[in-house]
Each structure stands twice: as structure tokens, then as C-alpha cells.
């Protein structure tokens, strides 16, 4: 029986979890001798106080939308894809190959090719764990973790031994041609007379990420495939009863998940760095977990949570710049969000449920 009304489920529970994470983070800041209120002010100022700050916040948020959606889609099929990081790394490889080896006349064509490349490579990297889960029952959590490490080794090998331009000591590809440069928010907004920071990295990929949010929403809640994915996620015996093939659902949802994680590369590799470097993903694949949990696996929730984490990321960078608080504070906040919205969900939920129960009894 549902004890809580739906609004409490989708709004109140995540908000309380977030609040708890925020309080603990504030205590951490206090403990290292800084002022949490000043820190928040600094973060807001740095991340949202200028178009430059917004540009970074939205740039990070774009990454997190892709990886958050990736985790969310897998969650709907009751799979925990921790492999977003590795899939995003491989996505970077796909983007690099698409951008380096074809003389694209215009960025839009390059973007299409890069999108396909990123999604294909990310999906391919998710395909192995998915196949092993579907056919051999290997636990997807462990295999995707392993594939993160293997991805790092593959990327390392490719950059050091294959893609590195001759004479360069830097394990990175050469710079992409200027024709594949994606328009930044500055360039997109200028025709509308809106002044946006030139230096900020937010770019056209943001629009792709928003489109991905809408497409994932339509997929999960409006299409027959989405119906099957959700049905399988809730009950595997039920799926078999309804003639939904578990193998097919595991494969398709993991391929979509991996593809979405891979797509992140059009933002960080093509949109920002314009070349592929080692550790380009910077843990965004893992932040996707926090984003999906926080957003309750709903694209709108993922969108909002991604912006929140974009804010935290940019704000955290500002903090590290101006105070003695290192960037790792963001990792701590991320951990606390995962902890409260994911693992300690019941700690928030149980008292709330008994509160609602008492309220309901009092009324009737």
C-alpha cells in the first residue's frame, strides 16, 4: 500500500536527503576551519553570479545529464551501470576518431558523425557486460567496474601508442580541425543579442543533452519499448509471462545506457578540449550515479540534478581557487548525496511514512 502521497515521494524525500547532505557538508567545511555560509556565497557567486560561471556550470551539467540519463535508463531495467566512466572514455575515442580522420566541411556534419561515434563506442563498451549479464548471469555491477579499469588501459594504450602525434610527449591526440569546432553558448546566443561569456565552455552539446532528456522521457514513458523496460525492471518473472525477452531488454537498455554515457564525449572532448586527453572524463561517469539517484531516474529529475551538480562542480572549483577548501569537497558532497538518496533512502523515508500514517489516522 502507498503510504505517502506522490508529491512527498518525488519531491519531499529527495529534498530532505539533499538537505541532510548539505548539513553534513557544512559541518565538514566547519571542521576544516572555513565558514560554510561564506563558502556557499562564494560558490553561488562563482557558479551563478556571471555568464562565465553559468557557462561552466552548464558545461558540467551537460556531462552529468548524459551520464545521469545513462544510469537512469539502466535503473529502469533494474540494472546498476557503474560503467558510465569507462563508456564515456570509449565515447571519447569514438569522437576523436570521427573528428580526426574525416575532413568535415561543417561542424554540424561533424557533430552528427561524432554523436554516432560516441554513442556507438559507449554502447559497444556496455555491450560486453550486458551480454555477460544476459547470457551468463555475470553480475553487471562487477563487470562494469572491471570494464572501467580496462577502458582506462585501452585509452592509455591508444593515446600513448597509436593516436599520439609524432614527437609529442603528451599522451593526447592532436587538436581537431577548426571546422569541427562546436558553437559555444556565446556564439549561439549572440545573434539574439544576448551577451554570454566568450571563455566559458558551455556549447551546443547542452542542446543535445536537453534533447536526450526529452527523448529518454518519451522512450521510457511513452513507447512500447519503454513499457517493456519498466516491466522487466519491476519483475523478471512478470516479463517472461508477458513474452518480454529478458535478454533483449538487458541488451537494449544497456546499449542505450552505454550510448548515452558515451555521448558525454561530444561535450567534453569535441565541445571543450577539442582533442582527446587522458582522464578526459574526470569522474563524470560516477557523478551520473548521484544524479540519477537524486533525480529518481526521471529525465526531469536528472536534468535538475545535473544542473545542481554542475553548480557544485563549478562552485567547488571556485572554492578551491579562493579558499583552502580543496576540490575534493565535491567528491564528499557527491558521496553524501549518493548515500542519502540511495543507500540511506529508508532512513529518510521511514520516519516520513509514519508521520503521514499518523496524519492520515488523525484525519479519518
Amino acid at each position: 500500500m502507498d503510504v505517502m502521497p506522490k508529491w512527498a515521494e518525488v519531491v519531499l524525500v529527495p529534498l530532505i536527503s539533499l538537505l541532510l547532505a548539505a548539513i553534513l557538508s557544512a559541518l565538514v567545511i566547519l571542521a576544516i576551519g572555513e565558514d560554510p555560509i561564506a563558502a556557499v556565497q562564494l560558490m553561488v557567486q562563482g557558479a551563478l553570479g556571471s555568464t562565465y560561471g553559468w557557462g561552466y556550470t552548464l558545461y558540467y551539467a551537460t556531462n552529468f545529464m548524459f551520464t545521469g540519463l545513462a544510469v537512469a535508463v539502466a535503473f529502469h531495467a533494474k540494472m546498476f551501470n557503474i560503467g558510465g566512466e569507462g563508456q564515456a572514455m570509449l565515447g571519447g575515442l569514438g569522437v576523436a576518431l570521427a573528428c580526426l580522420y574525416f575532413p568535415w566541411p561543417h561542424w554540424s556534419l561533424a557533430l552528427i558523425a561524432a554523436t554516432v561515434g560516441a554513442a556507438l563506442f559507449g554502447a559497444a563498451w556496455a555491450a560486453f557486460p550486458a551480454y555477460l549479464q544476459a547470457k551468463r548471469g555475470s553480475h553487471i555491477v562487477i563487470t562494469t567496474i572491471m570494464f572501467n579499469f580496462i577502458a582506462a588501459a585501452v585509452l592509455n594504450y591508444m593515446l600513448v601508442n597509436v593516436l599520439r602525434p609524432e614527437g609529442s610527449m603528451d599522451p593526447a591526440t592532436e587538436r581537431f580541425s577548426p571546422t569541427v569546432h562546436l558553437p559555444t553558448l556565446h556564439e549561439i546566443l549572440a545573434p539574439f543579442g544576448i551577451q554570454f561569456s566568450k571563455a566559458a565552455p558551455a556549447n551546443f552539446s547542452l542542446l543535445v543533452a536537453i534533447a536526450a532528456c526529452i527523448l529518454v522521457w518519451a522512450l521510457i514513458w511513452r513507447t512500447r519499448l519503454g513499457y517493456e523496460i519498466r516491466a522487466y525492471g519491476f519483475s523478471e518473472p512478470g516479463a517472461r509471462y508477458a513474452g518480454i525477452s529478458p535478454t533483449r531488454i538487458i541488451m537494449i537498455s544497456m546499449l542505450i545506457s552505454g550510448g548515452l554515457a558515451g555521448l558525454m564525449a561530444i561535450n567534453n572532448v569535441m565541445g571543450e578540449a577539442e582533442r582527446l586527453v587522458l582522464n578526459a572524463t574526470e569522474g563524470a561517469g560516477f557523478i551520473g550515479i548521484a544524479v540519477a539517484l537524486m533525480g529518481r531516474s526521471h529525465p526531469l529529475g536528472v536534468f535538475l540534478a545535473a544542473i545542481l551538480f554542475g553548480f557544485l562542480y563549478q562552485g567547488g572549483a571556485e572554492l578551491a581557487l579562493w579558499t583552502s577548501i580543496p576540490r575534493e569537497l565535491i567528491v564528499v558532497i557527491q558521496a553524501l548525496v549518493i548515500l542519502f538518496t540511495g543507500a540511506l533512502d529508508n532512513m529518510v523515508r521511514m520516519p516520513l511514512e509514519s508521520l503521514f500514517l499518523r496524519y492520515r489516522k488523525g484525519r479519518s
Binding site: 513507447t223 513499457y227 517493456e228 509471462y241
Partner: protein, 520 residues
């Protein structure tokens, strides 16, 4: 009479167990409401009630498995707190749960000493348990191999291990929750002999069941529960099955469905030499031959776990098999992509599965989503690349009205309906597809009486439209009241077919135990 003296003595002795004013809620559901009961020592006390009446909850409270919200427990006249199972064991209470609580990959001996070890090292504990096991065997005729691993022995033996566990802990009061659900009639009789012997040795037995026959056969006293309340406690010798049934459901019930004799037509489903092997490589169906004709209900009787589930699953496309199945003369695939549930549905097979909560419904889906479940790829629910949710909700409203689903709200999630209304949603979905063959598994398990009548009548109505129906039920009563023909399954074989008016429970019981009709 000696029996009378004994009864009088027991009447004056303090009750072995006395519960006063027990109440217990799970969230918004109240499972027990102000229940009081008194159990005399050295008797077998039955507790009867429908599924969900609160019997198991009450006994779990006595065993310290749940904590009561209110109420008191007296043992041998003394008020006792039972906060956990440890306290219950210390108070001399043992319980055999419906689903056994055994560690599958441990030996019998290890399971028996678990929680009742002597000291920190295992060796002396095991040696001591082995010795007392031999004594217990002698005393009560409960023989099992102490070194056998649980997953290798049958359910009957596993149940004995559970009883031995309780006796090893010196239980004076033994609670058994639906102990015969997984047993053949012969095994059940054996269990009842053991229970009789335990009573004669002075143990007190509490037997939870929903089967009237067991109550009448073995108990001294019986308490009846209905919707979380205790409605009556009577001496078994002074009551009748009809009276108990009425007390259970609160009004007179028709134990038989009104129906006209079947007019069987051409064969719809023909099964020849059907074999199924499960994931572990165990043969579940060992060559089944059956025919179901248009306009008849074929009932499959049998103890749970003898292949009935696998039969339904392979027919419903949830499982692969070997052999031949023909539907209206056309062979159905038993392997490959055309053997899944979707293919079966398009071929005209509908399926009300045995476990509606795990299979038949997605408990977190709205009612309208569940109405499409299995038929979600149907063209009528489709609009371009999307599902036509509006059409689906309209369809759901119509079905809910026709099948009297309460509350008739398509937006409610399945888990928020009662068992009976959940089953009505499943039955509505499957019957309204106008299938040639309807597979029905345990259609009234966990369903309230009102919905049982409704569902039974719908199944008979479908038969009267000339459809073929294959019914699997572990409730013999249900088989007798619905089936036009009865086939009995045992160990993956069909033991025989009978007509309901030419057989009785005793003969079917022999077949269910694997003894062929000729020997009976």
C-alpha cells in the same frame, strides 16, 4: 469414559497458551484486531480461516517473530514477554513455518543445532545433537539421515527436520503453519500420526490451516478467524464443516458452482509426450499426454511441485520444452523465438498465471498499464511510435466496470488493490481477449470469497461460449466444483483421468501420491 476424565482434568489446568487482546498492524493494514485465545495443554488446537485472515500473523507474534502492538501473552498461566524468537524458544514454543526456515546447503544436523549450540566449538555440539536425534527418532518415529544436506532431501523430510529442530529445543508447544500445503495426502496422514503421538506424549499442538478436512480429522478444539478477528472457538466434536465454513466467511457459501453439463466439442489443445527440463537439469515433465476440448474445463489436480507449474509455463510460453503441442490442429513452437508468451497470445492462448503478484501483474504499474500487460504490442494500443495511453485507459475503465473491480480507478497501482480485485484485473484482461484456450493457475489463491464466486462464474461462462480451459489448482475442492474432467499429476506424469462424479477425494488422493488407480 477415560477420554472424558482427561478432558476435565485439562479444563481445570492452566492453559498452555493464552493470548489476551492481541492487536497488530502492518502500516495501514490491521492484521490482528483484539484477539484472545486460550489453548489447553495436551491438545491439538486448530486455527482456521481464509488466506489473509491473520492466522499466521497471530502465531508469528506468539513465536516472537513479530511484536504485537497491544495485548498480553500467558504461558502456563504466567504472563510472559516474548520480544523475540529466543524468548519464545526459552518459553518452550516451537514453530514450523509454512516456508521452511532451513539453510539449504547445511546438513540436517547443522540445521538442528543452529542457534542451540553448546559452546563455541561445533564438534561437541554436533556430537550431542546426533545422540539426541537418535532418541527423538525412537520416541516419535521421525527418522531422517542426520548427515543429509537439506537441498538433497524431499519436502516431507525437510518438514521433519523442522519438527526435530523444535523438539531438540525442548518445545512443549508446537505451532504448525499450513503444514500440508506441500505434502501428498499420504504424507499428510503420516504427519498427523506424528502429531497425534506428540499430543499423547503431552505436547500441545497448534495447527494453522485453511482446510476444513484437516480440522475435522485431527483437532480437539478449533478457533475461527475472519479478517483479523477471532470469530469463534468451539470443540471440534461439537461442530460441522458447514458451520465452520460459515464462520470463516461470515455467510453461507456455495461450495459448488452452478453449471450445466459441459458439451465438449472438437479438441482445441492436444499435448503429446511433452517433456520439460528445468534450469538445474531436473526433469519436471516426463512425457505428458492431454487433450482439452472446446467447451470443457480440464482440471489438473496434484500436490504443489509435481510439474503443474511447468505445464502451465510451457503452454503459456514462459518455458521451453520438447514434444508436440497442437492448438486447433496447428503445432505450437516449443523452442525458439515463436515459443514465447507473445507468440502464444497471438495464437489464441490466454493465461491467468499461478502467481499474479510476481507474474500476472506488475505491482508498481497503474491498473491501466496492467490491462495491457502481455498485449502491450497490440495494434489497438498503438499510436505511431507510441502507446495509445488514452485508448488504454478507456479500455481499462470498461473492463473494470464489467468485472466489478473495486475501486474502479485506472490510475491506482496494482499493489493498492485487494487480492481479489487484482485477480479480477488479470482475469478480465485474459478473458476479454476471447482466447481459444485459457490457462488458469490457482485462480482463487489469496482471493476473498466474493471474488472467488465471481471468478469461478466467469470461467464457467467462458466454457459455455465453447472455449477450452485448462485449470491447475492444488485445492481439490476447486477442482471438483469447476472441472468437467480431472487429470492428476504426480512427479511429472499424468497418473490418470477421472470424471468428477465418478471419483472422490480419496481416489484422487491416491493418484496424487503416485499410486495408480488400479492399486487403489
Amino acid at each position: 469414559m477415560a477420554m472424558n476424565d482427561q478432558t476435565e482434568r485439562q479444563d481445570t489446568a492452566a492453559p498452555a497458551i493464552e493470548l489476551k487482546g492481541i492487536s497488530k498492524s502492518f502500516g495501514p493494514v490491521q492484521a490482528n484486531k483484539d484477539i484472545s485465545i486460550s489453548v489447553r495443554p495436551g491438545t491439538i488446537h486448530g486455527i482456521i480461516g481464509e488466506n489473509g485472515a491473520g492466522k499466521s500473523t497471530l502465531m508469528s507474534i506468539l513465536y516472537g517473530f513479530y511484536k504485537a502492538d497491544r495485548g498480553e501473552i500467558f504461558i502456563n498461566g504466567k504472563k510472559t514477554e516474548i520480544p523475540d524468537s529466543q524468548a519464545a524458544i526459552a518459553a518452550g514454543i516451537g514453530m514450523v513455518f509454512q516456508h521452511f526456515k532451513l539453510v539449504e546447503n547445511f546438513t540436517v544436523l547443522e540445521n538442528i543445532i543452529l542457534g542451540a549450540e553448546d559452546g563455541g566449538l561445533l564438534k561437541p555440539s554436533l556430537a550431542k545433537a546426533r545422540k539426541s536425534l537418535i532418541e527423538l527418532e525412537r520416541e516419535y518415529g521421525l527418522n531422517v539421515d542426520p548427515d543429509a544436506v537439506i537441498q538433497d532431501i524431499g519436502v516431507g523430510k525437510q518438514q521433519r527436520v523442522e519438527i526435530l529442530k523444535a523438539l531438540y529445543r525442548q518445545a512443549e508447544v508446537l505451532i504448525l503453519d499450513e503444514p500440508t500445503g506441500v505434502l501428498t495426502p499420504a504424507e499428510a496422514d503420516q504427519l498427523f500420526r506424528i502429531l497425534g503421538r506428540l499430543r499423547d506424549e503431552g505436547k500441545t499442538i497448534i495447527l494453522i490451516t485453511h482446510k476444513l478436512r484437516e480440522i475435522m480429522d485431527i483437532t480437539d478444539t478449533v478457533s475461527v478467524m475472519r479478517r483479523g478477528e477471532m470469530t469463534a472457538t468451539v470443540k471440534t466434536s461439537e461442530t460441522s464443516p458447514e458451520q465452520l465454513a460459515e464462520l470463516m466467511v461470515g455467510r453461507k457459501v456455495l461450495l459448488r458452482v452452478d453449471k450445466v453439463p459441459a458439451k465438449p466439442g472438437k479438441p482445441v489443445l492436444e499435448i503429446e509426450n511433452l517433456k520439460v527440463t528445468d534450469e538445474k537439469g531436473v526433469a519436471r515433465l516426463k512425457g505428458i499426454d492431454l487433450t482439452v476440448r472446446a467447451g470443457e474445463i480440464l482440471g489438473i489436480a496434484g500436490v504443489a511441485g509435481n510439474g503443474q507449474s511447468e505445464l502451465l509455463e510451457v503452454l503459456g510460453g514462459m518455458r521451453r520444452g520438447e514434444g508436440t503441442i497442437r492448438l486447433n490442429g496447428e503445432p505450437l513452437a516449443l523452442d525458439g523465438p515463436n515459443s514465447d508468451g507473445r507468440a502464444r497470445r497471438t495464437q489464441g492462448v490466454a493465461h491467468v498465471p499461478e502467481d499474479r503478484q510476481r507474474e500476472g501483474l506488475i505491482m508498481d504499474f497503474h491498473a491501466w498499464e496492467n490491462v495491457a500487460f502481455g498485449y502491450h504490442l497490440d495494434a489497438s494500443y498503438r499510436r505511431g511510435p507510441f502507446m495509445d495511453n488514452t485508448a488504454l485507459r478507456r479500455d481499462t475503465e470498461a473492463k473494470m466496470k464489467k468485472f466489478d473491480v473495486r475501486p474502479p480507478d485506472p490510475w491506482l497501482t496494482a499493489k493498492n488493490f485487494s487480492g481479489g480485485n487484482q485477480q479480477k484485473i488479470v482475469v478480465a484482461r485474459e478473458i476479454e481477449r476471447n482466447p481459444d484456450l485459457l490457462l488458469v493457475g490457482q485462480p482463487t489463491r489469496g482471493v476473498d470469497i466474493g471474488a472467488i464466486e465471481f471468478i469461478h462464474n466467469e470461467i464457467v461462462a467462458l466454457r459455455d461460449q465453447g472455449k477450452a480451459i485448462l485449470l491447475v489448482s492444488v485445492e481439490l475442492e476447486e477442482i471438483f466444483s469447476l472441472a468437467d474432467r480431472i487429470a492428476v499429476m504426480f512427479d511429472g506424469h499424468i497418473m490418470g483421468e477421472r470424471l468428477p462424479n465418478e471419483t472422490d477425494e480419496k481416489e484422487l488422493g491416491m493418484l496424487m501420491a503416485g499410486m495408480s488407480g488400479e492399486a487403489a
